[in-house]
Symmetry: C2
Subunit: 316 residues, 2 copies
């Protein structure tokens, strides 16, 4: 996403300055999260969406930072659930400070984001945002409850990733546009564009757990699988004749070894599970494009399109 | 606090209804928290404070519920840090569902409280509240960082309990009054009254860790001590000739046994540590009374006074 480096740099600077604290833990946690890089897709969406309206640069920067801080807060709490040691190659807060401190580091980031939102957002946007944050929490709880459940179906999966990921993409885009004065159908298309893109993004992300390169993602292959989080390719595999039973046999084992993960990984590629997942991702991408095409044909639309194209190619 | 049973009943009903969800985990968590009872001091403060102005009953009920939900969210996250199995005799969320789920149960409650605040509070109150929540988080992180630190002084302790407890008392009272139209000096006195009361409350609460009866508090005696949280009586004890060295010797042990806790407990009583702590608590209480006395002499002032008197007598 080199195209948006200027947006990202400005955002990183804003976040570091805004979160400066005389608590070492908090500064370190924020710096780790910033250093971890990440695509900053949500704040980029805020910024670009604003251009469909009449945007105020400073206001949008604050909102974009609020959205990224909210995302960071969920990452910190998410890493507690996943017991993740690394996030984008950087040590996670829960690994560095322990789960206990990480809980309040996440709460702190959440509060900092709400402080920005309270200052910048209209009550309408605040209400919409609250609703999304609530659904994100429910999505995380669902994901935890669905762990190791071999009966999970595609509908459960899609509902989960909608809540876990896509809604935050959608609301970021929505508030960027709404707070820049956009109303009516364009706002609706923009929201849907980002929602569908979020679905593609998460499917792609889940595929990288199979195909991804450890060095780039900072994540061991098969990590979700080992943690009992069954994503789209596994769900397809479980339903496939000739593969389903073998997969269940492995997943039902008490301890899943690296060898087991490799066997499942091989089956995902050998069967059509990987391709089917990609196809479903493509379907959401098409829907995103459809919504985008209904928007006014201005420069920023091309930039939004660029993000979509990048989705298909990304390996991180 | 039988005097306020009608307020408490209405509040409990509102919270259960408002938090109804089709997720068993969330309903159970909320019911456990409600069943745990608790004094509901913060929502009572909201309600009473409103009577100094021109209060709207429904609006205040929503705000009071928001404040209690915020408090419950911090309890859930707090129990994760403390690894507490029981809270007021009820199983904690972290014990029932595991730390992992408890993280998002807390986040969910936080979001539900913010949804109420967004609907009911002026931007002025929202900004003040955000600031307090941020300081509560910092207070929790500080408490964790100060664990097992035998060099902690009274100033550190007072700063910690101000953030951990007193500020939420103060802001609850402030927004109850402010949102009922109260302005000027009375608002200032009310805020200070609740802040000082919060300090007394936490000192009293910490004293109960030594004197409290397990059955009533649902908390084993010396639990804070065993967890490395050194409260006022310990800080006094550490500074006392004839007791300090013995205390350090025990606290520096690798494992603190029940016998050790009993020895420290005995020293707290034998020395003036317990009495000195009570005296400091009384000082804050006096300040609270002073502020209260500057407020208009109306019926609700007597009710506020009642809460203060109850503080001194409470054993739970």
């Amino acid at each position: 996403m080199d195209k948006f480096l200027d947006i990202i740099d400005e955002l990183n600077g804003f976040i570091i300055e805004y979160c400066k604290s005389n608590r070492t833990i908090l500064n370190t946690a924020v710096q780790d999260l910033i250093k971890g890089g990440g695509k900053r897709l949500r704040p980029i969406l805020v910024t670009l969406a604003g251009k469909f309206g009449d945007s105020d640069k400073n206001k949008l920067l604050s909102i974009a930072a609020g959205v990224e801080l909210l995302h960071m807060a969920t990452l910190v709490h998410d890493d507690i659930i996943d017991e993740a040691k690394l996030r984008r190659g950087q040590v996670t807060a829960q690994e560095r400070f322990g789960k206990n401190v990480a809980v309040f580091v996440g709460d702190y980031l959440l509060t900092k984001s709400y402080t920005l939102f309270t200052k910048q957002l209209s009550r309408h946007s605040l209400n919409k945002l609250n609703k999304v944050v609530r659904l994100v929490c429910i999505g995380e709880i669902d994901q935890f409850e669905e762990k190791y459940n071999i009966n999970i179906n595609i509908y459960d999966y899609l509902k989960r990733i909608r809540r876990k990921t896509a809604l935050l993409f959608a609301i970021s885009t929505y508030i960027g546009a709404y707070e820049s004065g956009l109303r009516g159908k364009s706002l609706y298309y923009l929201y849907n564009f980002a929602l569908e893109m979020g679905m593609t993004f998460q499917i792609q992300d889940d595929l990288l757990d199979f195909a991804g390169q450890e060095k780039k993602t900072g994540k061991k292959i098969g990590q979700d699988l080992a943690a009992g989080i069954y994503t789209l390719p596994i769900i397809y595999l479980l339903q496939m004749e000739g593969y389903g039973e073998k997969t269940i046999e492995i997943l039902n084992k008490d301890i899943i070894t690296d060898e087991d993960i490799k066997r499942i990984n091989d089956m995902v590629y050998k069967s059509s599970a990987f391709d089917d997942s990609q196809k479903l991702g493509q379907k959401f991408l098409d829907k995103a494009v459809n919504n985008l095409n209904k928007l006014p044909d201005i420069q920023v639309r091309t930039e939004m399109k660029y993000i979509l194209d990048w989705q298909l190619k990304r390996q991180v």
